[in-house]
Amino acid sequence: MRHFLDMGGYWPFVWPAYAVTFAVMALNIIWARRLLKRSRKEALRRLTIGGTEK
């Protein structure tokens, strides 16, 4: 296990590279969900405003 984590001495480069990539992926998931949630809320708000005006 220690040998694996050491990556032949390249651990200061290999692990940050993986960390950055997976952080980007996680952020993409979070941003996408947040965008959908926000647009839904916004759409609902528009609908209720439209409803009261009618």
């Binding site: 290999v14 940050p16 950055v20 996408a32 647009s39 759409a43």
Partner: protein
């Protein structure tokens, strides 16, 4: 008859429902493939005879670099379709793609520079690939900047679509010019895939990662697409059911 699928693709409620239904079918295979690629790349693949274990950065760098170009192309083609056929959904695809592509371009730059440190001795070298990635990041930033400068979604869609198409025409020229420029000033770098024969235990994980990342883009795109489609529809009757569901 043959065109019905095209018309259905242009219909926002249909696209909204279809995206919701398809998302897990892309997300789960993406997750599985990426985990498999990680195991293959970090564990099963042998160390490189020259770069030792340092080369394993390729399993995140190459897919990120692939994404930066693939997403840009998808974005520009969608934008072009949106311009020509005045298709809202196509514009929504383009809008949903840009942040994904930009973030993976960023990841490609960071991982490339992390790979560069042990191979070149510095974090940054004006290597043609890294330089092209940097310019691509600027193209994404310009596209997103232009889009956000408009208040009106439709105008933002169409103006940024023109930019995306112009950018797509330019990308090969930029890449060619950067490679040409680099060849004048330094010997070509041997860092990437320079080895003619990569054993299958090395390249199979790479292929798995490439497919996994692409499916990941598909899943994120579909979620974002729903958001973008909703924000482009004003008071359409289908929204009520879609949002409640």
């Amino acid at each position: 008859m043959a065109w019905t699928w095209f018309h259905r693709l242009a219909s926002p409620p249909h696209v909204y429902r279809l995206s919701a239904r398809l998302t897990p079918w892309l997300a789960w295979p993406a997750a599985l493939l990426i985990v498999a690629g990680l195991i293959g790349g970090l564990w099963l693949a042998p160390p490189d005879y020259q770069q030792g274990d340092g080369y394993r950065i390729i399993y995140v760098h190459a897919p990120s670099a692939w994404m930066s170009l693939f997403v840009y192309t998808t974005m520009a083609v969608a934008a072009g379709i949106g311009l020509i056929w005045r298709m809202k959904v196509a514009h929504a695809v383009a809008a949903a793609s840009a942040p994904v592509g930009a973030s993976f371009t960023f990841a490609a730059l960071v991982t490339g520079s992390l790979w560069g440190k042990p191979m070149w001795g510095t974090y940054w070298q004006w290597d043609p690939r890294l330089t092209s990635e940097l310019i691509l990041l600027f193209l994404y930033l310009g596209y997103m900047g232009l889009r956000s400068a408009f208040d009106d979604v439709q105008r933002a869609d169409r103006a940024s679509a023109v930019l995306a198409v112009v950018g797509l025409v330019n990308v090969p020229i930029i890449h060619y010019s950067v490679v040409w420029w680099n060849s004048l000033h330094q010997a070509p770098s041997l860092m990437y895939l320079g080895k003619p024969t990569m054993p299958p235990s090395m390249y199979v994980p790479l292929l798995i990662m490439l497919v996994g990342f692409t499916l990941f883009y598909g899943a994120v795109l579909l979620v974002r697409l729903r958001g973008e489609v909703l924000s482009r529809e004003r008071a359409a009757s289908w929204i009520r059911e879609a949002v409640r569901a």
